[in-house]
């Protein structure tokens, strides 16, 4: 049985905000199946007593002094904006009309 269905891949693509064609979904679903089969080897390797590692070199609560330093100007910040209006990023509508 397939580990992941085409519908599941379509759902993941929606969550990841990537539009996909039917052909892309078909292709990816079969690839994902192979990849998941190969990575599922990690399951059950470590016992319940083994803690997870998120960072190899552990550090906690790293702070830097709260000093005022020069930052980007509005012009610099907006230099890569796909669209702008005055000193702001211009974006498509976020809320529905209603």
């Amino acid at each position: 049985m397939a580990a992941i269905s085409r519908d599941e891949v379509a759902h993941l693509a929606r969550l990841a905000r990537i539009e996909m064609t039917d052909a892309e979904l078909d292709h990816l679903a079969s690839e994902m199946d192979l990849i998941l089969e190969s990575v599922s080897r990690v399951q059950g390797v470590a016992g319940a007593d083994i803690p997870p590692t998120s960072h190899a070199i552990a550090m906690q609560n790293v702070m830097r002094p709260d000093a005022v330093v020069p930052s980007l100007t509005p012009e610099e910040s907006l230099s890569g904006a796909p669209a702008r209006e005055e000193d702001r990023f211009k974006v498509p509508q976020i809320l529905g009309e209603e």
């Binding site: 992941i4 599941e8 891949v9 993941l12 693509a13 969550l15 990841a16 905000r17 990537i18 539009e19 996909m20 892309e24 990816l28 690839e31 994902m32 192979l34 990849i35 998941l36 190969s38 990575v39 599922s40 080897r41 990690v42 399951q43 059950g44 390797v45 470590a46 083994i50 803690p51 997870p52 590692t53 998120s54 960072h55 190899a56 070199i57 550090m59 790293v62 830097r64 002094p65 980007l72 610099e76 910040s77 230099s79 890569g80 904006a81 796909p82 669209a83 990023f89 974006v91 498509p92 509508q93 976020i94 529905g96």
Partner: protein, 497 residues
């Protein structure tokens, strides 16, 4: 003059027998002559490079004290920001983007007076082992133009092997510095995680990404290492400790009494015969130099690849959410009728390539509720086991060694339709990233069956990067005395246009 080491260029600059402007121009001429075939560079910054070179020449002329690498040219992987210079990460998503700030790596390079020639090609967002995943076309291996130069940093390694630059910067998440170095007969170092600031390094997998130095010799790599490493308050994972003496270590040429562990699990089936032949010869050279070789077992390495291909895509799926078409990068479909979400969906469809989409989807899956414990959680536990394997090994030996890759460079197109086969190429390099330790690849000869470079990997404990330079420098000297010239000098001549 382009065939010299960076150390020799540095000496010539100091002696006044060449200027930084002359060196930069010689490299631009070389790039113009060969990069049509090699395609190592995505962008050339002639104006910026010559301005930096002139400034260095003026400082030297005025008798000011400058850094030894001041005026030496460098190729920068296109994943690090350089103010005002295009930074694409090999992706259509960032086409035309000129970052408004320098990465800390670039700040350090500029401070030392290193001349940045341009930005090098890479697999999109550093995801890949062949540079075939670049949205701007593949880079070709200077040793054989029908083969891959490694990845993701194939542009940087190819630039070195083709004498388009004596120094380069790479980044290594699962082997993207070391595997390209191995297949192009050059040297590449992944420093201990946190040794080089990640500020301005476009993130792929934040807990694994590490920038590092690349060059044609161990000494050149050490010199560059000392320039780019160091504490940076702008990166919360930066190590707050003095940078070790890498140059001194590379020059030591003495490993008498050192214990070197050969990783049992990184050998055997699936390894090309010629790779193992050259690897074993290098071990003999280390023994002749006075080291003791012992076999070490690291049983959890068997699961490293699987753990990596869950952890890295998981972090990537989160990191790449920033490419939402709102603040920078391309925007597709914004015709006034569509919502932000629709525009986002269309932009990410067009902006990302196949491999990036594959990893985002895989990461989204591994992190989703219901699957989290089975996939991401299990992978993190395996990461603990791998770290423990290293700790146990380093309790017995000073450094560990293995081949850098199971094979020499494969053909362009050979594995592009089989992601799992492609991922297997990283089997020797990945455990290092999961454990956060330092590692070097240096050339150990040409495989007898295909005449292509073989990489030798040295792994040293976290915060002891000097050790790999000490062993690497000694091995390089021993091998070169048996070859009569450096390996990189044996590369076939490229057609000059």
């Amino acid at each position: 003059m382009i065939h010299q080491s960076a150390a020799q260029m540095s000496a010539d600059l100091a002696a006044g027998s060449v200027t930084a402007v002359e060196l930069a121009n010689a490299h631009f001429d070389r790039i113009a002559a060969v990069d049509g075939d090699v395609h190592a560079f995505l962008h050339i910054d002639r104006e910026g490079a010559l301005a930096q070179a002139s400034a260095v020449d003026a400082s030297r002329k005025a008798g000011e004290k400058v850094h030894p690498l001041a005026g030496v040219p460098l190729a920068l992987k296109d994943v690090l920001t350089q103010k005002g210079v295009p930074t694409t990460c090999g992706s259509k998503m960032l086409e035309g983007w000129r970052p408004p700030y320098d990465s800390t790596v670039v700040t350090n390079l500029k401070k030392a007076g290193v001349v940045i020639l341009g930005k090098t090609n890479m697999d999109e967002f550093a995801m890949g082992s062949s540079t075939e995943n670049s949205a701007y076309g593949a880079t070709r291996n200077p040793w054989d133009l029908s083969r891959i130069p490694g990845g993701s940093g194939g542009g940087s390694s190819a630039a070195l092997a083709a004498f388009e630059a004596p120094l380069a910067i790479g980044t290594d998440t699962g082997g993207s510095i070391r595997q390209p170095a191995a297949v192009t007969g050059t040297v590449g170092v992944k420093p201990t995680y946190g040794a080089v600031s990640r500020y301005g390094l476009v993130a792929f997998s934040s807990s694994l990404d590490q920038a590092g130095p690349c060059a044609r010799t161990v000494l050149d790599t050490a010199m560059l290492h000392e320039v780019i490493a160091g504490y940076d308050p702008k990166d919360s994972t930066s190590i707050n400790a003095p940078v070790g003496k890498m140059v001194d270590a590379a020059k030591k040429l003495d490993i008498k009494g050192m214990k070197i562990g050969v990783v049992k699990e990184l050998s055997g089936d699936g390894y090309q015969a010629g790779v193992l032949t050259r690897f074993n010869e290098a071990l003999e050279a280390l023994v002749s130099a006075g080291a003791e070789i012992v076999e070490v077992s690291t049983p959890s390495f068997e699961y490293a690849l699987a753990a990596y291909y869950l952890i890295a895509p998981s972090e990537a799926s989160s990191n790449l959410a920033r490419f939402d078409s709102m603040r920078y990068g391309i925007r597709v479909g914004d015709d006034g009728s569509r919502s932000a979400e629709e525009v986002m969906n269309m932009t990410r469809e067009v902006g990302f390539g196949r491999e990036v989409k594959r990893r985002i989807i895989l990461g989204t899956y591994a992190l989703s509720s219901g699957y989290y414990d089975a996939y991401y959680g299990s992978a993190q536990k395996v990461r603990t086991l791998i770290k423990r394997d290293y700790e146990a090994a380093f309790a017995k030996v000073d450094v560990l060694v293995s081949p850098t890759c199971p094979t020499t460079a494969f053909k362009i197109g050979e594995k592009s339709d089989d992601p799992v086969a492609m991922y297997l190429n990283d089997v020797c390099t990945i455990p290092v990233n999961l454990a956060g330790i330092g590692s070097m690849s240096l050339p150990c000869g040409l495989a007898p069956e295909d005449g292509l470079p073989v990489g030798f990997q040295i792994m040293s404990p976290a915060m002891k990067d000097e050790l790999m330079y000490q062993v690497g420098g000694t091995l390089e000297a021993a091998l070169e005395s048996s070859w009569s010239k450096p390996l990189y000098a044996s590369a076939p001549e490229l057609a000059v246009k």
